[in-house]
């Protein structure tokens, strides 16, 4: 029986094996290729999506386990934190090759939603599962602080 999967607010009928990793469904079936396949073994974070608001590695998540969840990918993530992160990413010119960046952005947005003014330690903890082959870590950290600053000034 097909699974009905809610991705970016749209419900799709997915006729795949229940053990298919969500990443495969997103990329191959739904053609949402913004979410990247980096390692396939939950080591790099390139495949990070939000599942009911929590950042998760879609390469390590069975289709059948998320059939009743709300999934948001890089194509549709939005809100104040997302806007602040996107602006800071552009201003800092964070990406180099860009491959890891959709995962980095998804983790960074989730971090700012959980901790609006993160310390360096908070950034290290939240982002340590997102690997960047180009080592853009310093720019990522700076951009997260920039985004937090913008969000903070909007609140005060």
């Amino acid at each position: 029986m097909p699974y009905s999967l809610s991705v970016n607010g749209q419900v799709h009928s997915i006729d795949e094996d229940g053990q298919t990793p969500l990443l495969w469904v997103l990329r191959d079936t739904l053609k949402l290729t913004g979410t990247k396949y980096g390692c396939g073994v939950a080591q790099c974070g390139a495949c990070t999506v939000h599942v009911d608001g929590q950042p998760m590695r879609s390469c390590s998540l069975a289709l059948e386990a998320v059939a009743s969840a709300q999934i948001v990918t890089i194509e549709a993530v939005e809100g104040a934190e997302t806007k602040a992160i996107q602006d800071a990413w552009i201003a800092r010119d964070v990406p180099q090759c860009g491959f890891c960046q959709s995962g980095q952005v998804m983790s960074a947005v989730a971090l700012l939603r959980a901790i609006p003014a993160p310390t360096d330690d908070d950034v290290d903890i939240a982002m340590s599962g997102n690997i960047c082959r180009c080592a853009t870590y310093n720019r990522i950290r700076a951009a997260i602080h920039d985004a937090a600053g913008v969000l903070g000034s909007g609140r005060s």
């Binding site: 073994v41 950042p55 998760m56 599962g129």
Partner: protein, 228 residues
């Protein structure tokens, strides 16, 4: 002036292009004939397995200890056998002495660089459930269990001797459980039980959870003696 070309009298013999071409072709034909001569096909032989086969280790049953007449010595021997499970990487990896788990049979630091967080289930911004779910997930090789989390720091086992672990699990202040609960935890807990069904290429703990529980029960019944 020997290097000067002499005029006319002693002209060197000159080869034309044709003999050189013929020689080259003959050489190519010869080499090809040697290289392409009919040869027996290489025999297929199996490559060594890329992953070593998982060794299933057994536990000695409680009955095997009946011949030890001295109850104290028997209790000790029972615990030492159960210790093969307790000190197995499948158990030790999630009983770290720091805030960070280890992984694999080599018990190397966990990647990504995760920490226990307030409830043992990871930091709020990098939960264990970012990757670990209710079941082992074969496509990514990530293990899972509904209760996936670290043992409390009071139950840190890494770096301790079996005797120290023994005294620790019997100490309600550190184990946060009495003997009844301890037996129940080891015999019934499904996260403990995961150690025998770890999935992927992970080596399971020796024996079965039931055999392990029987050893623990017999050890408690014989006075719960601890190694030095």
């Amino acid at each position: 002036m020997r290097w000067r070309r002499s005029s006319g009298l002693s002209r060197r013999r000159r080869f034309g292009c044709l003999p050189i071409l013929a020689l080259t072709v003959a050489a190519i034909v010869l080499v090809s004939a040697i290289v392409l001569r009919p040869q027996p096909l290489p025999q297929a032989h199996s490559l060594p397995a890329s992953h070593p086969r998982i060794e299933i280790a057994h536990l000695r049953p409680v009955a095997a200890f009946a011949s030890i007449a001295d109850p104290q010595a028997r209790s000790l021997a029972l615990f030492e056998e159960a210790g093969r499970v307790i000190q197995h990487p499948r158990c030790m990896n999630c009983h770290p002495r720091t805030d960070r788990p280890t992984q694999t049979d080599a018990m190397r630091p966990h990647t990504p660089w995760v920490a226990r967080g307030p409830d043992g289930g990871g930091e709020p911004t990098l939960r264990c459930s970012t990757c670990h779910h209710d079941e082992n997930f074969e496509p990514s090789g990530v293990p899972g269990n509904p209760k996936w989390k670290l043992a409390p720091i009071g139950m840190a086992w890494q770096g301790k001797t079996l005797g120290e672990i023994c005294r620790q699990i019997l100490d309600p202040a550190r184990a946060h459980m009495g003997r009844e609960e301890l037996l129940h935890h080891l015999a019934e807990d499904e996260l403990v039980g995961w150690a025998w069904h770890p999935g992927g290429e992970r080596t399971p703990a020796p024996g079965t959870q039931a055999e392990f529980a029987a050893l623990i029960k017999a050890w408690l019944d014989t006075g719960a003696k601890c190694p030095a």
